[in-house]
């Protein structure tokens, strides 16, 4: 057994790319060690690390060589291998010679001559020399670049390669750069060359040269430092995973610096201060125990300490400059009301064929009014886009909606109104919170369905991976809101929502363009399926498909109830009865004409008379339970019909010559089938029957 380690020294790799690259590398290296013959066990011998400038991996124990393996080699056809007297032909002799085998080695049977050949395992060094460059060079990065002569494409230019196997340099080449057993320390603090002999040696020497190779350790060091600095500033740094995951890949030698901004900026809305710090400056605000922002904040430092206070000065300088701009924008914006900005929206285009934001606002108002008659909600609908022409939103686009909400609050508008404006972009992605009020949910729905209806009307629906207007996310947001059942819930079906939005477009554009209702429904159906499958409910694909077949567009919560019942029933023994009954009915009635209604005079046997008497009882019961939304009980009631149906199928011939009788029986069976079809098309459920035995 030997150890191998590798380092790729590059120019600074974007912080957000490290995690995915490490995961890919880990997966490929694990496969490599398995191919090398490392028996899989709990201790993964692969360690992957990275810093802004380095990709590092360590294989703690690999066999010195692959084990030998045997392989079968196919030769000439048996017919051609022996002559009439049964002696080996030239063809056979040649084949044997080539494979270093004798006639005794030939494996009996088959149409072709075959012999076994032993393949000597290659040394670990040979394999690493072949595979490591492949793995590294083929790593896919989200945005590649070329440099120098422009021959190679990679995330950033490569400077040096370390490749050491069992204490010795193992020569490899990455993009024409030959490896060595030498690296460099921190770019400015310890840039000297360093010889490295083993992984431990490497880790220790780099640490002395101001490089901590483990990202988690860099994060821990910074987190501890941040905590102490926060305490000194009389507060706690915001918990912010996205900042931490960036910081740990922005430093080789982890540190944090505390800086101050001018207290006069504390009068700006918190959201603005926090956005400037977090999004624009990658800094962490510090809050007091009661949640107030302090004028101190933290910034990342690629050094253990800011000895001369330079970084504190620089960070304060740049943050004050940003805040000065923000304050100017804020004060300029506050000189006019949101209401007065409605006319500004006429000059702000939404989409060439869909008009300006004033047009969009009119549609949002109309759609909201069809969902809600609450005055506060409708006030929010009217003003929700008026922050777009503000200086603040032009500068901090991520704050759209929020800025409008803040200004509405400062203007003294009702809480329900300003919160709805503030929240109406939510949820922008699957992990986002929903708007905090029902009013917010209504505005969000209206805004999103207006966008969807508009783009579908002009034929700009997403194709493949192309979705420049984020229509999938808009549809997803609508689905998320409609699935919600708490006090914010909006009880409207997607079909109705689409109808309202298309009507709003039609009315305000005066254009008779084709109505893309079916396209929109299909688009939504796809989103509903995706979201339900990925959701915490744990629904299976076929359960969702079966229930959606019985309808989904009029109520998503009802759909969820039906899938839930289906899922619960699925684990019970009589589920097979439901399934078998439904499938038999579906098979036999498929493509057949049936009578408009069941005619008792056409019955011929007692069995079918008995069934016919039971069916309306069952059907009524099922309907009643569906009315009460007790879908599980409804399904159980249906299941209870199974023995009767079985007798019916055993004793009654459905496909008889007499058309009247046949159609009558079809009608009877359809009545039974239809009872359950209101909940789900259970024939879409795929079952493994073994699960139901025992």
């Amino acid at each position: 057994m030997a150890e191998y380690f590798f380092e790729l020294l590059t120019e600074e790799i974007p912080a957000w790319m490290h995690t995915a690259a490490q995961a890919t590398l880990l997966q490929q290296l694990t496969k490599l060690t398995q191919d090398l013959g490392e028996p899989p066990d709990d201790r993964n011998p692969v360690v992957v690390n990275s810093t802004p400038r380095r990709i590092i991996f360590f294989l703690s124990r690999i066999p010195l060589r692959e084990s030998d393996r045997e392989e079968e080699v196919k030769g000439p056809p048996v017919k051609a291998a022996y002559d009439a007297e049964g002696k080996p032909t030239q063809a056979l002799n040649g084949f044997l010679k080539k494979n270093n085998a004798t006639i005794d080695d030939v494996i009996a049977g088959g149409d072709y001559i075959r012999v076994k050949r032993t393949i000597k395992g290659r040394s670990a060094g040979e394999i690493l020399q072949e595979r490591v460059p492949q793995i590294i060079e083929s790593l896919r990065w989200p945005k590649m670049m070329r440099w120098g002569k422009g021959e190679h494409s990679y995330i950033r230019p490569i400077h040096s390669v370390v490749s050491v196997l069992g204490g010795e340099h193992l020569p490899i080449t990455i993009f024409d750069i030959p490896s060595g057993a030498t690296t460099r320390g921190h770019r400015t603090l310890a840039p000297q060359l360093i010889d490295v002999l083993s992984y431990n040696d490497y880790v220790t020497k780099l640490e002395l040269a101001r490089v901590v190779i483990n990202a988690d350790r860099r994060r821990q060091v910074m987190a501890e430092r941040a905590r102490v600095l926060g305490q000194q500033a009389g507060g706690t740094p915001s918990v912010d995973a996205s900042i931490w995951s960036q910081w740990q890949y922005l430093t080789e030698y982890p540190g944090v610096v505390r800086a101050e901004f001018g207290r006069e900026y504390l009068s700006l809305p918190d959201e603005v201060l926090v956005t400037v710090m977090r999004v624009h400056q990658k800094q962490l605000p510090i809050r007091t125990a009661d949640g107030r922002l302090t004028s101190s904040f933290l910034a990342v430092l690629d050094n253990d300490a800011d000895r001369d206070g330079n970084a504190a000065y620089g960070n304060s300088f740049v943050t004050n400059a940003r805040f000065a701009d923000a304050k100017f924008f804020y004060e300029t914006d506050r000189k006019r009301t949101l209401e007065s900005r409605l006319e500004q929206l006429e000059h702000l285009q939404f989409q060439e064929k869909l008009g300006n934001y004033r047009d969009k606002t009119r549609r949002i108002e109309q759609i909201s009014a069809a969902i809600s008659d609450d005055a506060d909600t409708l006030a929010a609908a009217r003003l929700c886009k008026t922050d777009l022409p503000t200086e603040m939103v032009k500068e901090f686009t991520d704050l759209q909606g929020k800025i409008g909400g803040i200004y509405a609050r400062e203007e003294g508008l009702p809480e329900n109104t300003w919160q709805a404006i503030y929240d109406h972009y939510l949820p922008a992605n699957i992990d986002d919170a929903l708007p905090r009020t029902r009013s917010g949910a209504v505005i969000s729905l209206a805004d999103k369905i207006d966008t969807l209806a508009g783009f579908f009307r002009i034929g700009a629906k997403p194709t493949g991976s192309k979705d420049p207007f984020a229509l999938r996310r808009a549809a997803q947001g609508i689905v998320q809101i409609l699935l919600n059942r708490d006090k914010r819930s909006v009880k409207i079906g997607i079909d109705k929502l689409i109808g309202i939005a298309l009507a709003a477009h039609q009315q305000l554009s005066n254009q008779a363009t084709p109505q893309p209702k079916d396209d929109l429904l299909a688009f939504f159906a796809e989103r509903v399926r995706t979201i339900l499958e990925a959701s915490a409910y744990g629904f299976a694909y076929d359960e969702i498909a079966a229930a959606m077949e019985a309808g989904w567009a009029s109520s998503l919560t009802d759909l969820v109830d039906r899938i839930t019942a289906l899922k619960a029933m699925r684990n019970e023994p009589n589920f097979l009865s439901i399934l078998d009954s439904a499938k038999r009915i579906a098979n036999i009635t498929s493509g057949q004409e049936s009578a408009a209604r069941v005619d008792p005079s056409k019955f011929e046997s007692d069995t079918e008379r008995r069934l016919a008497k039971l069916v309306p009882l069952m059907s009524d019961q099922v309907d009643e339970m569906i009315g009460e939304r007790d879908y599980k009980l409804a399904l159980e009631t249906f299941a209870a019909m199974a023995p009767e149906l079985e007798t019916f199928f055993d004793e009654v011939m459905v496909m008889v010559e007499d058309e009247g009788v046949r159609r009558n029986r079809m009608a009877l069976l359809r009545t039974v089938g239809n009872a359950v079809m209101k909940i789900a098309d259970v024939t879409k459920i795929v079952v493994d029957r073994r699960e139901y035995r025992a």
């Binding site: 912080a15 422009g150 430093t251 000065y313 300088f317 400059a321």
Partner: protein, 295 residues
Amino acid sequence: MPRLAFQDLILRLQNFWAERGCMIETPLDLEVGAGTMHPATFLRVLGPEPWNVGYVQPSRRPADGRYGDNPFRLGKHYQFQVILKPSPLDVQELYLDSLRALGLDLTRHDIRFEEDNWESPTLGAWGVGWQILLDGMEITQFTYFQQAGGIDLAPISAEITYGLERLTMFLSRQPSVYDIEWGAGFGYGPVRKQDEYEFSKYYFEVANVALHWNLFEEYEKEARSCLEAKLVLPAYDWTLKCSHVFNTLDARGAVSVTERVGIIKRVRELAVACAHQYLASREALGFPLLKASNG
């Protein structure tokens, strides 16, 4: 901490890069938004000819004007631009040495290279690189050019753009750009504040919109005639003029969103045509700088 004046930075950077094999070019004598638009960058990065150059470029961004009121924002600022083609492998080290030449002890400061890619829709150009942060403040844009005028580049040029006012403010610990010293005892404020005010007022309030629309049309026509006459360098001059007229109209609030997209597209078409014609013209000349460097 070195207390450098604005002109000290210019002089030191020029000397530094001249010593490292750069030709020192002079600023383009037209209004441009950035040093990248100087033909010494936009055209020279095309094709196989080597090119190492450094120059100051006054950069006009009408919409950034603040009437001389904002201590950080200027309608015209000065960039020091360096192009190294092909990009040498030690280009980052060279850059750090240039900071050392300004008197910075980099063991006492925080230097970070954070991803920041560059794209210019009007030039049909993009590149990959970083913003370089000194103690948390952006002082330089660093870009490996990948495409210009819609043409894939090889060799690749490294572009280093220093923001000279920012850097001087920071090095001299001045909280306002108007407080820095230009040189020889002249202050940046007394020298520049009047033109910041006047040009802000002009671009935001006074510029004749009809005239500028007309200029745009005429400049564009002229660029096209030059292209037809196979005079790519004059054609490029007129393209830059179109670009500045557009920036003026934009600052004046005279460009709607729809118009904006259309105008950018028209300027890009000119820039792309210039890039292609320039490359062809250099090829016709047998890529003179290639021979010079070989000889």
